[in-house]
């Protein structure tokens, strides 16, 4: 805190130019690494070996991308898995959390305090990884299924609480008048409450989509069948086996059998770029709703 006050002390004398320079440099720091990866993915393989990595390709080549698109089905397959899981997962997650959040926002419920506490407690304490692993593999038999990739991230306690706080702000009068018109609670929720709640739905929906898209951990825990690898986990497998493979012919053979031909450096980086492609494309939308959602939460208090 002391340091902060020092920085506050300088604020008065800091000209706008310096402030803008700070942000320009920091923004570049955030973007350039991605440019570097993009550049590697568009560089000729032999040039990478001899010249190293650069921000601008020394010898341009789209071999990496050709390799992926023409080549192994594994990468396309991983794409398919990621897309299906993200779409189904984000939708189901939104449905379950918004229903629960809405019900908990209704003051006429007697047990809403207790149920909220049951939700909150899981943020403080959990059984840990090993019991969770045993539960999923031995008792639910969800190892090597698409379902576990969806279920693992489906319920987020924090999101339910955010939703609940948002729904509290929905004027009770419209819900009341719908009730008088003889609309059932479910119908009221889907027809009247949800349409006026798009900001929170968009924010939470985007959050959980990004969560699903970037999830590799569930895959690392429960998936052994390479047909069910998602993009992130495939990336991890490509990367973590790299050094080991280069020194070990037998191991590289076995991985080749598992995921087809071993991609070179540029193809690996191309896979990485393709995995963040959709995020970059949706980014304008993503960050607009994101900033909105955050501001919403902050001003609400």
């Amino acid at each position: 805190m002391i340091e902060l006050q020092k920085s506050g002390f300088m604020l008065g004398q800091m000209p706008k130019l310096v402030i803008n320079l700070v942000f320009i440099v920091y923004s570049l720091l955030c973007i350039l690494p991605i440019v570097l990866v993009l550049s590697i993915s568009l560089t000729d393989e032999s040039s990478l070996m001899s010249d190293g990595y650069h921000l601008i390709p020394k010898l341009f080549s789209t071999y990496g991308y050709d390799y992926i698109i023409s080549g192994t089905s594994t990468i396309l397959n991983a794409y398919k898995v990621t897309i299906i899981v993200t779409l189904v997962g984000a939708f189901s997650s939104l449905l379950v959390t918004s229903l629960m959040g809405y019900a908990l926002s209704r003051t006429e419920l007697k047990y809403r305090g207790q149920i909220s506490f049951i939700i909150f407690f899981t943020i403080l304490f959990n059984g840990g990884l090993a019991p969770y692993y045993i539960l999923v593999t031995r008792y639910l038999h969800l190892k090597d299924t698409l379902l576990i990739l969806i279920l693992a991230l489906l319920f987020s306690p924090v999101n339910v609480l955010i939703m609940r706080n948002f729904f509290k702000e929905v004027p009770g009068s419209i819900i009341e008048s719908a009730r008088i018109d003889g609309s059932g609670e479910f119908r009221t929720f889907f027809r009247i409450v949800l349409p006026v709640s798009t900001p929170v739905l968009a924010t939470i929906g985007l959050f959980s989509s990004v969560g699903y898209w970037n999830d590799w951990f569930t895959c690392a825990l429960f998936i052994e069948n390479n047909k069910l690898y998602n993009l992130q986990y495939l990336l991890q497998a490509l990367m973590s086996n790299l050094d080991y493979l280069q020194s070990n012919a037998a191991a590289s053979k076995s991985l080749e059998n598992a995921i087809g031909v071993l991609p070179g450096e540029s193809a690996r980086m191309a896979t990485c770029i393709l995995s963040i492609g959709p995020i970059i494309l949706l980014y304008p939308l993503l960050q607009k709703y994101f900033v909105k959602g955050l501001t919403l939460g902050a001003v609400k208090s």
Partner: protein, 330 residues
């Protein structure tokens, strides 16, 4: 995030009305009267019970010789045997100290830099400019740590990596970044900063936007400078947000598999050489589970982690409550 923190704080405070004893009659009457709402709650509640509460009973595995064939309840009790190996090894101190020191350092740096950035973002001399900076700074937050690993590799790869290319350009020796643990004490916090500062800054900007302009107008009339406004209005009013965010992230530190620990697993690429500076409790638990398949030890360490985490959150919350009961979590 601020909406998160308020959501959580509001849950626990001022929500717990005295309810009459849970008699079956009142229970049934309540459920039938509002059956639709309880039906809405049911799917989420089932999830919570299956995926969050059932594993809590699983902590008994920490005290058993787990046998996959027999299952949890049939396995034999072996007391504290599972804990022995971990508590006797050097690993315990290493991972505990790494976990606590990294998290506190990262928390402090992210918080202070984000608040500084949030205040400076108001001073760029153009809303349009500020929003461009904000969007660019947010970008790393949306990338996974696996992508982060690719980026770090592109920078640090000893032969072709950009950093060594630059070093050679200026006539310095190339450095084997992946072979020397001490570098990672700097690399890890930097990676976390780059990923999270943009996001946290946006949260604090939102929180600053929420501060009533009356304060600033009053300060204006008294002739306060920008620095005095930041020091006497903005920062003090942000403290509650800081406290709640910190409490939540403290809780996450020891929250097996829920915290943002995967960077410690992906960036150093499970390289044993780097363990002294990159191994944290979560990576240790994960390796014990997946690598050596030692479920007993993994759950013992996980149990230790959960207890330490709970104690830390409760202790911090107690201290906060003592000094400022308004900002405590519960």
């Amino acid at each position: 995030m601020s909406s998160q923190s308020q959501a959580v704080a509001a849950t626990v405070k001022g929500e717990r009305k005295k309810t009459r004893a849970l008699s079956p009659v009142t229970f049934l009457r309540e459920i039938t009267k509002h059956w639709a709402f309880y039906a809405m709650i049911l799917p989420g509640l089932l999830f919570l019970i299956i995926f969050n509460y059932l594993p809590m009973f699983g902590v008994v595995i920490a005290f058993k010789d787990y046998n996959p064939v027999a299952g949890i309840w049939e396995s034999k009790w072996i007391g504290l045997k599972n804990f022995e190996f971990f508590f006797k090894s050097d690993a315990m101190w290493r991972v505990t100290l790494n976990t606590i020191s990294y998290n506190l350092l990262i928390m402090f740096l992210v918080t202070s830099i984000s608040i500084l950035f949030a205040i400076l973002l108001q001073e760029t001399g153009g809303r349009y400019r500020s929003s461009i900076y904000k969007s660019l700074m947010l970008l790393p937050f949306f990338l996974s740590w696996i992508v982060g690993d690719y980026i770090v590799y592109a920078l640090l790869n000893p032969d072709q990596g950009l950093l060594n290319q630059i070093r050679e350009l200026f006539g310095y020796e190339a450095i084997d970044w992946y072979g020397e643990p001490s570098y990672w004490r700097i690399i890890m916090p930097l990676a976390y900063l780059l990923k999270n500062v943009g996001y946290t800054s946006v949260i604090y900007v939102a929180a600053i936007t929420g501060i009533s302009s009356d304060y600033y107008e009053a300060a204006e009339i008294d002739g306060a400078s920008k620095l005095q406004k930041a020091r006497f209005i903005t920062i003090p009013l942000l403290i509650p947000v800081v406290i709640i965010l910190s409490l939540l992230s403290l809780g996450k530190i020891f929250n097996g598999g829920l915290g943002d620990w995967s960077a410690f697993y992906t960036l150093p690429r499970e390289s044993g050489i780097l363990f002294s500076s990159t191994d944290v409790i979560d990576t240790y638990v994960f390796r014990a589970l997946k690598g050596v398949s030692d479920i007993g030890m993994s759950s013992a360490v996980g149990f230790y982690q959960a207890i330490v985490g709970l104690v830390m959150v409760l202790a911090t919350n107690y201290l906060v409550k003592k000094y400022d009961s308004e900002s405590s979590l519960f």
